[in-house]
Each structure stands twice: as C-alpha cells, then as structure tokens.
Symmetry: C2
Subunit: 369 residues, 2 copies
C-alpha cells in the first residue's frame, strides 16, 4: 500500500468540487505496475471531467481546491456522475516502482514509461503493463504526451487509409496535434489542408513545411479553402471544434469545388461523397449544418479508444512504435507552463488552461512541490 496525493473531481448539488487529496494506492497485481508519476499534460479531453462547463470565473478557490457552480443543462446532462469522486488525467509518464507477479510487469521495474491510467494527475498510478510505453532515455516530460495526441494524429491517417481517402482537411490545425499531423502527412506524402484562424498560425505551419494553410479569419476564407480542396482532392476531414459552422463551411467548399466540375445541373448537387469527423468540442455550441450540399455527405464522431479497438492489435503496435521512434521529433509536444497539483487548481491556472488556446498547453508535475 502506497499513500500519495491525487486530484479528484466531484459533481453534486449543482456544484463541481475539484481538490487535491491524500489517497491510498493498492499494490499492483498480475500484469499491473505502480508508476510514480512525474509529468502529465492537460489535454482538451481531460477538461470534460476537470472543468466541463463550470462557472470558473466565479468559483471559490482555496489552496488545493476549487468549488464552482455547474450551470444547466450541463449539470443534469452529467447525471450519471453526480456524487461520484472521479480521478482525472488521461495520460502521463513516470517511473515504475512496483509491479505485479507477471514477468512483463516485473521487467518494467525501474524503467521510465508513458501510460494511460485515467488518474494521471496523481503522485502514483496503477497502470496495465501492456499499455505502458517504455521510454528508455527519453525524459518523463518528453514522454508525458506519448499517447493521446500522437495516437489521435496517426489515427486520422489510418482512418483515411481504411476509407480509401488520399487527402485530409484538418481544422484548428495549429494545435500540438495539428503540428504532429503536418509532420506525419509530410512523411507519408498525404496532401493536408490546414485551417487555422490567425496569421501567426499560418506562419507556424508554413514554417513546418505545410503546403496548404488556410486562414478562417480572412475575408476570402471560403475561396482559399476551395482552392486548397481543388489542389488536394480532400473531401475528407477532421474537426476538433464541433460547435458552429466550421464543418458546414468545409462541406460547402467541397460541394462548390465538386459542383464546379459538373457539366449538367442536378437538383441534388454533385455526387461527390464528402465526409467529416468531429473529434473534439472546443466549442460547446450546437453544430450547424445548412442544406447547401445535397445529400452526399456524412458527419460522424471520432474517438480514439473505439478507433483503436476497431483497428486491431497489429495496427496499434505499429502506431505505438512509430510514436516511440518520433517522440522527440514528429511527436514532440511543447508546454506553456509547468504546474504542481496544487498550482493546477489556482484561479489563474484554471482560467488559463480551460481557454484551450493554441500552443498554450499545461504540464502537471505531481512530484514537484
């Protein structure tokens, strides 16, 4: 039995309470390992449990804790977690300090690993040895984001291949994940249309060698997008924004390009199949789809875990090896700031990372004081 600090998130009586608390970690058994966590990123996907739509501006902050009201309909929508004390933090990295009796788990003792324990904002985690990625000489900080973003970016390329697509559109493309995707697509020779919303982000991605970077803040955004679609043949894409009309704009531009190649008018529009995936909710507003591109379109949610289950072990192992090989290059992440477990729950930090600004990711260092 090991005792350490961990962050818990509880939603009850209309309020979200997030706090650092001492907790007991059972000894690992079977193929489990006990990891002393050294670094864990705050990804947008962590915010669903960590902050959600809580009113963080007017929350009550005290050392190692905040209590915020959770507005409707968001409070009721999460009924299934009411009263539950949930761990937070999808992924991180640290050192294996104990292991269950299985040989592979035992072999990891003393090694630095990246893992996906679900309670990464913690001094200790129990993880499945089979899911751990041994980091070798790579530091825990460099290895902390080895799973969510790299596997998601690679998952997009695998999904495109599985569906016979030769080019990809990516919105909100200046993110850490977006930068990885630029590099992967270069390596794999896949045309990529990057949509960003600032000139600085155009420069950033162009600096990485991206060929097609479109600025959604420009007056001629749709024209830029149409040109990029025409040049690449990208009728397939991924969007982490969710709310608003970004997906709608992509479908409109795809249809405009496809319709421009038609020789005869059709009331139903072009017969070009168009597909977009929403993989995040940077915007919690509703997704708006206008009747402007006929019926030849598909919009779907995309989530890493079901994708990996569907892809099969061989593909997943190949993807993991590629991540490990490129962890300090293609899949390198950068962080705006490092915080301890306690600093992570201060007003200043919370308001900053929940804004999910491009290039401003936080890294949690649970052993630091």
């Amino acid at each position: 039995m090991t005792i350490g600090k961990q962050i818990f998130s509880t939603l009850a009586d209309g309020k979200l309470t997030v706090e650092v608390a001492k907790t007991e970690f059972a000894d690992p058994s079977g193929n489990q390992v006990l990891v002393k966590m050294e670094a864990a990123p705050i990804n947008p996907s962590d915010l669903a449990i960590l902050t959600g739509a809580a009113d963080l501006e007017h929350a009550e902050y005290s050392p190692g804790k905040f209590i915020a009201s959770m507005p409707e309909p968001f409070y009721s929508a999460q009924k299934a977690r009411h009263g539950q004390r949930l761990p937070v933090g999808n992924e991180g990295a640290g050192t294996v300090i104990a292991a269950g009796e299985h040989e592979y788990a035992q072999s990891l003792i003393g090694q630095r690993v990246a893992c996906v324990p679900g309670n990464a904002y913690s001094q200790y985690c129990i993880a499945d040895a089979a899911m751990c990625l041994p980091l070798g000489d790579i530091s825990s900080e460099e290895g902390a984001s080895a799973f969510v973003n790299p596997m998601t970016a690679l998952g997009f390329v695998e999904t495109a291949r599985m569906e016979g697509q030769g080019a990809i559109i990516h919105t909100a493309a200046a993110s850490n994940l977006g930068q990885m995707l630029v590099k992967i697509c270069q390596e794999d020779n896949i045309p990529l249309v990057n949509i960003v919303r600032k000139d600085a982000h155009v420069d950033l991605l162009s600096g990485l060698g991206a060929t097609h970077v479109v600025n959604s803040s420009d007056d001629d955004f749709i024209d830029q997008l149409c040109s990029a679609i025409d040049a690449t043949g990208a009728y397939f894409g991924f969007d982490p924004i969710g709310g608003g009309q970004m997906v709608d704009n992509c479908f409109k531009a795809m249809e405009k390009v496809a319709a421009g190649k038609m020789t005869e008018y059709s009331r139903y529009g072009s017969d070009q199949a168009k597909k977009m995936y929403i993989y995040g909710r940077l915007d919690f507003g509703p997704t708006l789809l206008t009747p402007a591109y006929g019926f030849g379109w598909t919009l779907s949610g995309w989530l890493l875990t079901p994708f990996l289950q569907q892809a099969g072990m061989e593909t997943v192992l190949r993807m993991r090896q590629r991540v490990l090989d490129g962890l300090t290059s293609t899949f390198a992440s950068s962080y705006k700031r490092k915080v301890t477990l306690e600093e992570m729950l201060t007003r200043e930090a919370v308001l900053d990372y929940r804004a999910m600004k491009t290039g401003e990711k936080y890294l949690v260092t649970p052993q630091a004081v």
Copy 2:
C-alpha cells in the same frame, strides 16, 4: 415528332418562372419509349426545381404560368441552373404510344407503364424501357407513384439490413412514404419507431397496426421516444425534416437509453453506435447537433439514386417486383386533389402543395383539360 404541353422551370435574374409550354418530343430510338403521361404525383423532391424557396405568396400568377422572386441565398446557391429551362416531375405513369427499334421497347407499345422520366409534368415523355414498370391491369393513377416513395421506403429497410440494423426510427412518419414503411416493417417483422406530430397521425398509424407511435407535440415526447427505443433497440433512423433538432432529439434519446444501461460513468458517454440519415428537407433551416451524446454517432445524407447504384441490379429488381406486387396495397398512395398542368400553376394549388402537409399530396393529370 410529337407536340404536346410540358411544364418548364427557369431561374434567372432573381426570378423563378414556371410555365406550361408547347414543346416537341423526338421520336424514341433504341430502347426508348414514348409515353403519353396520364398521372404524375407532386413529391417533396419535385419541389426543389418546381418552387424551391421562391416567394410564392407574392408571385405573379397568370393562366398556365407564375413568376416569383427567389430570395438570397437561395438564388445564388442555384447558380448552376441560372438561365436554364428545366423540365420538372420525377415520376409518373401513362401509356406507351411509340418505341425505338429494340425488341423490349417494342414489346411495351400499348402497355400502361410507370416511369421516371424527369419531365413527368408533361403530356409526353421519353423514357428508358429498362426503367419502365409495366402496370398490367393497374391504372395510371394507381401506378403514378410506383417509384420514389416505394423504392425509398424499401431502400430504408435494405439499408438497415446492409448495416446489420434490426430496428428503425422514422420521423415525420405519417407521410405516404411513412405509411408504406409501417406496412413493409410489419411484413418483414422489423420493429419501427414512428415519430409524428399530431394525435390524428398517431391514430392513423396505429390504425395501420403500428406498435410504436410517438407524438413530438406531447410534453413527454422524449420519454415516449426513450421508451420506444428501449423496447425496439432502434439506434438507427431516417429523417425527412432536415432542419431543426429532430435528429438531435433522436440522438439524445438513443444516448439516454444506452447510458441508462451503463454500470460505470464515462466522460465520453455510452459506446452505443448511433446513426441517423437525413433524406429530405421539409425544413430548410440548419440541422442543429448539440454536444449531448458523445462521439459515437454518425449522421449522413441518404438519396435514392446513389443507394440504388450501390445496391446493385439484383436488389433493385427484387425491390421493383415487390413494389409491383403491392402497388394497390402496401405501396398504395392517396391524393388530396387532382390538377391539370394549368391548374397546377394557380396560386391556390401552388401554396397548398408546397406546404407539404402530411396526407395532402397532389396528382397531376397532364391529359385532362
């Protein structure tokens, strides 16, 4: 060469002009037949070219003609048809009065057939003999709607089978098409959840033997829908409305039922796959999708022609035979009113059929005066 009256629709200079005009029909060649059209329905899918979003309230009506302004963005969105004189009317039935030299086309001379010429609001049509459905003793009025609605309703059931789905949700279910679907699903023993918006429609479908009929105007609509989904296992459906939140409500209810069966909370919601198809646009407003059901959903457009192309000849022939066998029972259509080509363009008629009210379909009889 045969001369007859036909309806044409022209969009130019911000105005939609629809008129009856004399036109010349070439002699049929090869496997073509010349059909003297006797009856043609006005389906929602015909309205895209016939009326669209034109301002029909304030249009200029004269005998056999109306001129209406077409508001933006709808005018510009149909740029590809500007200035073109388009025929109207997907389907209808009549008698073959001439044929090309091919044997099969010749064999149809004198027979009553249902056909899909694309200019059905016309005294004569050239049709592909291979696409004609010989009606035998069935009248042209009974056979006029033998294609669009029956094949679409059967197409839903075929799509469900292809995707391994055992139950179906149908919105706006009291339509002619919806009534056919009720009967098909009874014959094939497929649980069907019917969503309607009036008590009279609940009675109508229950009278046909429908088991699950849900009224979207009731206060407890979502609860009714959840119960029906729970009872049928329908996580798959078809929606002809398009705009608004009907699809969103279906996804929400599916997720509520699936989440209720979960033993552990997941930030991502249930892993129950949910799928909806939009196959019409009774509401031209944007489709709204809220972030209330995770990422395990897919929304797609559904259109008959690409479906049939994908389904293959064997399936299509089987579907056609089933339609023919059930044309006066399962696939019978009913009409509110019969109109001549000229009556069809009067203010009273236009405003009535463009409202697309359930159970108020029009039948055009091009030979009547």
